[in-house]
Amino acid sequence: MRVLLPKIQKPAAEHVDVVASLQETWTPQPQHLRAKSFPTPFSQAEMMTHVLGMLKLESGGRPEDITRVNPDIQQSYERWELVLLGIALGELSIETVDLRQPTFDNFGRMVADLRDECRFVTLIRDLRVAGPRGTALLVGGTDPECLFWCSPRIPTYWNALKTRISGHALAPDARQLLSEWRTVLQANGAWNLELGPVWQKALHIALDGVPASSSTAKLGADARFVGPVYLEVPRKQEQGEVDYLALYLPVLARGWGSRFQDLLFLKPVERSAGVVTLEDTTTQRVIARVAKSVGAVRGDSAASDPTSAVSSERFEFLAGVGRLDVDESAAVHHGQLHWLDDHNGQPGYRSLVVAPLLEAGARSLRRAVTEADVRAFPTLFPDALRLVFAGGEATSADEVRVQLSRHVTARRSVGVALPQTGLPPKAWRPGLPLPNVVAIPSVKSAPAVGLVERYGPDDRAQDVGELRALGLAMWLFYLGECEIQPERGLVVWTADEGQELFGRVRTAEGATSLEVWPHGLRLASEPAERARAKDKRATLQRFLVTWARKGEGENEDPRVWGERIGAMAALAWIQWVMGGSDTELRPFGPATKRAPEVFLLGDGMGLPFFVDEYARE
């Protein structure tokens, strides 16, 4: 017997036969593919999914352009890649809209009703090309399976876009950025070329030849996230199963990470429900806005629509929660305060924005979300949240959040993100490399005080010198040129008319903070002071001997922490004096055993100040 189905030649044992799966022979040949034959309004997206599904991973080289055999097909890999790069280069913009808004009327409602996730559609526009109604030309939309699909009405547009994209000087940077974006997905188990959604296969082909990146520094420093886009990703541990995630796409924007850090100098103010503005306290001007709840999204009816069958919570990020609007023309005139944390009883960015967005993330992802989650999977979160934690540099897991001194924030460099974390003394041991930022534990729950030696990516490294400035003060004390004034909480350089080097500051939270004063910072960068220290080579050798083995005790002992901070500062100073390496300076001479003075940094944690044995004599 044979089965009664077209294009199938299959014997059957009984009159009723089981058709287990889609038969390949049913699928039209490439020249007969036809988008409008898919039985859904999302027929163009279905066709793009089909076309991408035809791509072969192993073939190498560029896939054949299907429009050559089927000029009417409207969807092709080539167009998909143009849209991908167009967005990454900022040539195309994307805008996620809620189709339940009244402006989309009955067509919007119909589409939104078809699939829960389709209530939010991301529209892709070319801001440089006017559409028939005078608005930016609508060139496509996004879809969970294929990522992008193209408008069926603009056949002549694609060549023009191709000219712009293929000749774009930053195209290699955009590909590198996308490669890092892929790295984040891979690191989080959301990537599977064989069994995952077709958009991953297409992205893999688009990034052919781009070196795989283990770092995500560019994503943190030079990417602005747009979207989000609701996408299929492979489910961890379950082959062939998919999850849906609202993922943000990267747009190349050099220095955007540090630009965002500038925004943290603006005072966050909640002027209306659900919106936090970031304001210049000097001019009272609003520089940026962050939406932190669904109700805040302009024109959105999602939160208040009682007829909506879809829980708005599930799609909060899609609805615009976390959207960061920045007035690009405004320069940030900041005050002294860095507003990440609360000051004098006034809430900072962390309280007003970070905490609510973490809660929104938890609702969207249906699990608890912490800062560590944002660091680990930044592409799930809007810039307003992820850039708080995603600096341009890779940080170790041991690092903790730090508060920066006003001198560091005042000297920040445009285009380079300020550090957000530092290595606490309990995570460092003598013999290990010196960290760029040391986190000095504070009392209570306040963030640690950060002593910044340097920061920024290699090509834009910023030298600060707070750690070696502390070492300088300890060196001067070792020489007998410095004194501690316990009643004022200061260390002063007695040989230079009582110039203040560093001291304690009582903050609003009652935390005892260590701060290096400007004079100390300046001295720690002066060639003359370096030369003077270098001239005292034997003394410097004894200083090295004195500190060489300090801090070798228990990791959880605050007394040991104090010694380690001192050891790191002393080594930072010696390395700077010796020109970046201590290899030329060998430990020699007697070590000072007992510190006559201890500068208290916190409960049980003191910084010992030693004096040279010979100086005492």
């Binding site: 017997m1 077209p6 030649q9 058709v19 279905e46 119909m110 529209l123």
Partner: protein, 479 residues
């Protein structure tokens, strides 16, 4: 609770017609029907009127009839696809619409083109059909979902060819699945036709064999990706590429003017209503089935040998389609005999009439204040009407299978009286007096024994005719 048949598009109406015909001869239990199509065609008229035979007295086999409903909001005053959605007050909506549909389907605000007129069909555009249907979900389709919620079992029929059925079926299944409770959802079935006819040379500008096959191919992709999981079980059936020696399987050209195209495949799709529920009884949910044909059986007797509507035709020993077809032929022949002996029937001039039908009809005529001879005349006319309905069914089967000796597929399980009368008819030994004196008189017994009762919902003369038919069937089936 009754079953619900949802028929979509031209192929769906073909299947619905098959179901109605089979229900008329007792091979299927008649479901309620909801029929969706964009255009008013000869096919729709045939389905609605059951080939011009349905009337108040000889009602449509489907309870409540089979009204064809368009899948769009007729109150909107337009059937232009573009105008169903786009208006001047919502420019953003227009922009979105034009992102989803090209100018050929969706027209253009810039050029003033209106795109498809869906009132004339979807012209091979399932993407259009799906949107039109989805937009009418809370309007013209609302009654459908209300009926669906109260159904015992639901069968969705149509094809993946063309535009209307191919576009609507998938969204329809999804929305019905969403609207009904878990119990009904577990009895939601789909019986779908793939390519089952060839296109005539002229069929409009946009529909070609290639577009039909593209719709079928992409529809199947969508079906296996989404739709099949919303169905408890489904059947796919269509013409194989090579019919071999079996004329039943050959593609026949579609009838011009959207009139009915008769071949085996709508009958096979109707068999899905019989077969699919049995498959889920075996807990094989979500499976997709097809049917297979034995080349050694070019007459397709296997279809006629299948058991249909078991055990709904007591006391027959045979549940085969061939047995029901035989009975339908015999009923027609009996009614023809009654008509041939009109004066005997009306005047009760046949052996045993006084102790059987005359008394009952007299009682009924008196109850309805009608003269006895006039009442009997009307009963005879009603029987003739019923015979026309049966002919609408059996002539269709004969067109499909040709002139068959049905005693072959019925075989040894034949009911004795049916066997004898069928042999008489087949061998041209039919005896008109016997029809009255023996069969008609014998048919009174089950009525008298209350095995058959008069249907109070029917006009009295038609109720009597219906009772006579059931009485005859009882006699034909009795061992």
């Amino acid at each position: 609770m009754s079953d619900l048949l949802i028929a979509v598009g031209g192929s769906g109406q073909h299947t619905a017609l098959a179901v109605a015909r089979l229900a008329r001869i007792g091979a299927l239990t008649a479901p309620k029907a909801f029929v969706i199509d964009a255009d008013r065609s000869a096919l729709a008229a045939s389905l609605e009127s059951f080939g011009g035979t349905a009337s108040a007295g000889a009602p449509h086999p489907f309870p409540g009839g089979a009204t064809v409903v368009p899948p769009f909001d007729i109150d909107r005053g337009t059937t232009q696809f573009r105008s169903l959605f786009v208006d001047q007050d919502h420019p953003v909506e227009e922009e979105l619409f034009e992102l989803f549909y090209d100018e050929e389907a969706g027209g253009s605000g810039a050029t003033g083109r209106q795109g498809l007129d869906v009132g004339r069909g979807m012209f091979g555009n399932p993407a259009v059909g799906s949107a039109v249907f989805a937009s009418s979900r809370n309007k013209i389709m609302k009654p459908l979902f209300e009926v669906a919620r109260g159904a015992n079992r639901i069968f969705v029929v149509g094809s993946f060819l063309g535009g209307t059925g191919a576009g609507i079926i998938h969204q329809l299944v999804k929305l019905v699945n969403r609207e009904v409770d878990a119990k009904v959802r577990a009895s939601l079935f789909g019986s779908f036709l793939l390519r089952w006819f060839s296109l005539p040379p002229v069929q409009g500008l946009t529909v070609t064999p290639e577009t039909l096959l593209a719709s079928e191919g992409h529809g199947l992709q969508y079906f296996f990706k989404h739709t099949k999981f919303d169905l408890a079980a489904s059947l796919l059936v269509g013409a194989p590429d090579d019919p071999g020696a079996c004329p039943l399987l050959a593609l026949r050209p579609a009838n011009p003017g959207n009139a009915e195209t008769i071949n085996l495949f709508p009958l096979l799709a109707a068999y899905g209503l019989e077969m699919l529920p049995r498959k889920t009884d075996q807990q094989q949910g979500n499976k997709t089935y097809s049917l297979a044909h034995d080349d050694a059986d070019p007459q397709g007797l296997w279809v006629l040998k299948q058991e249909w509507n078991k055990p709904e035709n007591p006391p027959s020993r045979s549940a085969t389609l061939a047995a029901r077809w035989q009975e339908a032929i015999l009923l027609q022949q009996l009614y023809a005999s009654f008509l041939d002996r009109r004066s005997d029937f009306v005047g009760f001039d046949y052996t045993g009439s006084s102790s059987t039908w005359k008394g009952l009809m007299k009682e009924e005529a008196k109850k309805h204040n009608v003269k006895l001879d006039l009442y009997a005349q009307r009963v005879l006319e009603a029987l003739v009407h019923r015979g026309r309905q049966l002919y609408f069914s059996t002539s269709w089967l004969e067109t499909i299978f040709g002139d068959l000796d049905l005693s072959v597929p019925v075989g040894n399980s034949a009911d004795p009286m049916t066997k004898k009368l069928y042999a008489d008819w087949r061998h041209r030994r039919w005896n008109h007096p016997l029809a009255l004196n023996e069969v008609l008189v014998a048919a009174y017994q089950p009525v008298n024994d209350k095995k058959v009762e008069l249907d109070p919902k029917l006009p009295p003369d038609y109720a009597m005719a219906e009772a006579i038919e059931r009485g005859i069937l009882y006699v034909l089936r009795k061992s």
